[in-house]
Chain length 330, copies 2
């Protein structure tokens, strides 16, 4: 059920089998599997998963190719709630390893927040990442186009950019390297530094050889209408016309709550085994937070795998399940 401040109290003493941090594709898929294994599950979601921003999913088997990301999340949440999983809108602040259980501290609400703790046997970190965006004076201008034809994922949207005039917006010289695999889809590429960093001679030479344009002016704003970006207006008033954009400024990893636990990382990503277990035996990581490809269909599969391993663990420990009536009453 959807938990609220009012209904929270009756769950305070309950030890969940699995607590899932994040209600995106990976977390919801995990929740659906966990509930179908008759485990007691709580998903805690802070809102607005990365896929929520995707206006159109084009590559998810079984869905028509213009399905909005938020439609998948809506269907998944309804599905999970219909299976009687618990769901709470809140922000996970900290996880503490208590031995047999994990203590999860959460903040509920933005104004006049309240604080609550939950206990769980297993934790599935599905809190994902969020893309850094160009920092312009008017951020509303950026949000007008991001997720439409101002893309953040080459693998997802390279096809949509084929043979188009594409601007690549990076945050460092290294981040602009994405222009080369983008060159598979289109040769009409302008890389923008927004005047924020230098491009070294070697990289400059590779861009030139590939036929790419380098633009090092500060950006004033994106141009366009109806969420379709049509170009960039630079600080000096000049305009570069574009058909699409690719933002490659790295990501923020939503994993601060795990700082107190010793886990193995590779870059910002959690290292897991083939069932998505981290180096901690009762913590799993799924979706964009773990090492691997950041795709919605992969995240959904990740959740299924982690949930199944949690079930196997618990089943092997317990042998048989508590009677169904007891589980449902919990």
């Amino acid at each position: 059920m959807q938990l609220t401040k009012k209904t929270l109290a009756q769950h305070a003493d309950h030890i969940y089998d699995a607590l899932v941090v994040g209600g995106g594709a990976a977390g919801l898929s995990a929740g659906i599997y966990l509930q179908r294994y008759l485990l007691s599950t709580l998903i805690i979601d802070k809102g607005k998963a990365r896929s929520f921003w995707m206006q159109e999913l084009h590559n998810y088997l079984g869905l028509p190719p213009e399905t909005p990301g938020r439609a998948v999340l809506k269907q998944g949440k309804d599905h999970y709630l219909a299976l009687e999983g618990d769901y709470l809108n809140a922000y996970v602040e900290e996880v503490i390893d208590e031995g047999d259980t994990l203590l999860v501290k959460v903040r509920i609400g933005r104004q006049n927040p309240t604080y609550e703790v939950f206990r769980t046997r297993y934790l599935i970190a599905a809190s994902g990442i969020i893309d850094h965006l160009p920092q312009l004076a008017d951020m509303k201008n950026v949000f007008d186009y991001a997720g439409y034809n101002l893309h953040v994922c080459l693998i997802c949207d390279g096809y949509e950019m084929r043979d188009q005039r594409v601007g690549v917006f990076g945050s460092s010289a290294g981040s602009l390297e994405v222009a080369f695999p983008l060159g598979w889809f289109t040769r009409h590429i302008t890389v923008f530094t927004n005047g924020a960093f230098e491009v070294g001679a070697e990289l400059r030479d590779r861009f030139t050889q590939a036929g790419y344009t380098i633009n090092e002016q500060p950006i004033h704003q994106f141009l366009g209408e109806n969420h379709q970006m049509s170009g960039v207006e630079l600080a000096d008033g000049s305009v570069v016309e574009l058909d699409a954009g690719l933002i490659a400024m790295g990501s923020k990893y939503h994993a601060d709550y795990l700082q107190g636990i010793d886990l193995e990382y590779s870059g910002g990503n959690l290292v897991t085994d083939s069932m998505n277990r981290t180096s901690h035996p009762r913590i799993f990581a799924v979706g964009d937070l773990k090492v691997g490809m950041n795709q919605v269909i992969v995240a959904a599969s990740d959740g299924a795998l982690a949930a199944t391993q949690v079930w196997r663990d618990i089943r092997r420990q317990e042998g048989t399940r508590r009677p169904l009536a007891e589980v449902l009453a919990a």
Copy 2:
């Protein structure tokens, strides 16, 4: 496009970037990703993937929980064809490693078959498995219920069997072990040997301790109506009432066409790396054929991963893509 005997000739000299054997969830997802990487793809499907028989998918993120497996396959095939991928209904007989390419020999049609060969740079084996079913005198009686409430997948359908009276139909004493994880979902279990094999003392004792019933009579037929199995009629005319069944008789692996190539297997499953590459650098395996969990959502993810690695390989070899017009004209 959907290839036919008539349109085949124009594709005879073409070397595909990737040929996918099998048009189930894994193969279609691979095909969708491959076409979106602007690679030339051919899916060869013999018809009736394992998921085609699933009357209801209950655990696939983004789809309503009673979606028929064949609806996912239909949507996926339409999606793939809309991306201009090639698709052929045929049976792959043999794959021969020619060095830079793989030669794929196929048989087209059942009556008066014709034979054709295709060449491809990469091959994705997505041909899956099919479950062995109880061999009764009247097989139509088995097909009436298999895939409805006569299940073949504990992970998929354990939830549907919770607290029900379930019959487990095995092909050997070892295959009946599935009754123990099934015991997580229900305690009302009868294991059936169909009079075909012995149950040793140790296993018999474990069944008794778990409270399961052992039935060693030959089975005459399943009872029920409207695809809802309601029990088993034994050879002696007696009846065992059931709410559901679980068939656990192992599977046939559709991988005979790979016999001439030295690949690493674990049991019947192909061993792959994290991107689903087999021990052969240009052959990938996805879905039920590879080591891992047999779930539709996992298969769909597998296809995405394999397709992406094929694209990375080809991109790194070629640097830039052929002009789009040339690709589309191929």
